[in-house]
Symmetry: C2
Subunit: 228 residues, 2 copies
């Protein structure tokens, strides 16, 4: 029987590539996406397409009311910063940071993992070409993993330990895309933009678009998305 | 200015007493409750009454889709165990355990805390007269606290650290009630039962009712609830 894995799937480039990798490593994939009041909800439709493309075992889109807490440009009407220089991105925590988002998402993944009997959780976090979010740092994921093993039956009953897999944590965006191409990820199905048009066309100017475009350029690959 | 605290408020005896204590300690209280598909949703109405009684600054009831994952008697049609001997309660993990529930709830509390600028999170967990849930143990809360301080801006920007307060973790149910009585908690507003009647009347026979009744009996106090 195949080992089960939960893969957090935002519909972005990193999470789609992570899903492809987990599948390539032989896991039976359960993809988990969140409707959390994000202004780029279009990513959920994209996540569905990616899940279908890779024939995951199950794909859940779960509602989590993070917009009730506000305080982020991604879940409120605070404007998304545009055209910041690449060097500035990641140097400080931007207004697109959603408080404790990865903690909440991984907690939900842990809940599903425990219910399913899965021990492996994959997240496509990246701490190189990233937006400077505290919950994308390697030390955070290690701390979450320790906590997860105390939070659950596994910690009491001496079952196998949970593992939080962050395969791309130390890669550049270009390296992630190169790996994705070998894994046959269809990047036309992915969505990275924080502030897309109503039809879902990426702006090309937010931090996320800038990092994505830089990644494709870095390895001389073609980004199939059409920008505004 | 008063320090802000998030208090997880289920509407049960422990969380109502925790709220009273946080308020008594001088915190401005933000109460957080969850609609997670629990069969005893009546507790949310009770949580609202408790929040109002103690005039909290704000009370949010947030939807978290834990019932999508199943695997618990509290969120599915698995029967709730009845009339278990007190000695058996807490010895093993029962079917009322909801996978990773406290991890998810505390993560949401952390999200709200970070958005509000609060550093203190109170949870009325108890590891003495409890149901044997792994996520009620002191070592879990310590691990969550460490993780929280890496997950958030505080960990990057050197701000004050988050604290997870578990004031009743080592108390018996009777001791908690005694403290609540001195803090003027109105226990007629609280709800403990896992399997109430449609009108919200407690069954008197689930683990939670048994522990509650034992607590009142232990200190010779009157439980104002009318059982089925």
């Amino acid at each position: 029987m195949k080992k089960k894995a939960i893969v957090l799937l935002s519909g972005g480039l990193d999470s789609a590539t992570t899903l492809a990798l987990a599948r390539d490593q032989g896991y039976e994939v359960y993809a988990l996406s969140f409707d959390y009041g994000q202004r780029h909800r279009i990513e959920l439709a994209k996540a569905g397409q990616v899940a279908k493309y890779f024939q995951v075992k199950e794909h859940l889109i779960v509602k989590v009311d993070l917009e009730r807490f506000g305080a982020s440009a991604l879940t409120s009407d605070i404007p998304v910063p545009k055209d910041r220089p690449v060097k500035a991105i990641g140097n400080s925590i931007p207004v697109t940071y959603v408080p404790a988002r990865n903690t909440v998402f991984l907690s939900m993944a842990l809940a599903w993992a425990e219910a399913l009997g899965a021990k492996d959780i994959f997240i496509g976090a990246n701490a190189i070409d990233y937006s400077g979010y505290p919950d994308c740092r390697p030390e955070f994921f290690r701390a979450f993993e320790s906590m997860a093993n105390l939070a659950t039956k596994a910690g009491v009953e001496g079952q196998a330990r949970y593992r939080i897999h962050t395969p791309f944590i130390e890669m550049t965006k270009g390296e992630i895309i190169r790996q994705g191409i070998t894994l046959k990820v269809d990047y036309s199905l992915t969505h990275s933009c924080y502030d897309p048009s109503p039809e879902g066309r990426p702006c090309g100017h937010c931090d996320s678009c800038i990092l994505r475009r830089k990644g494709f350029k870095e390895i001389g690959a073609h980004d199939p998305l059409e920008y505004m």
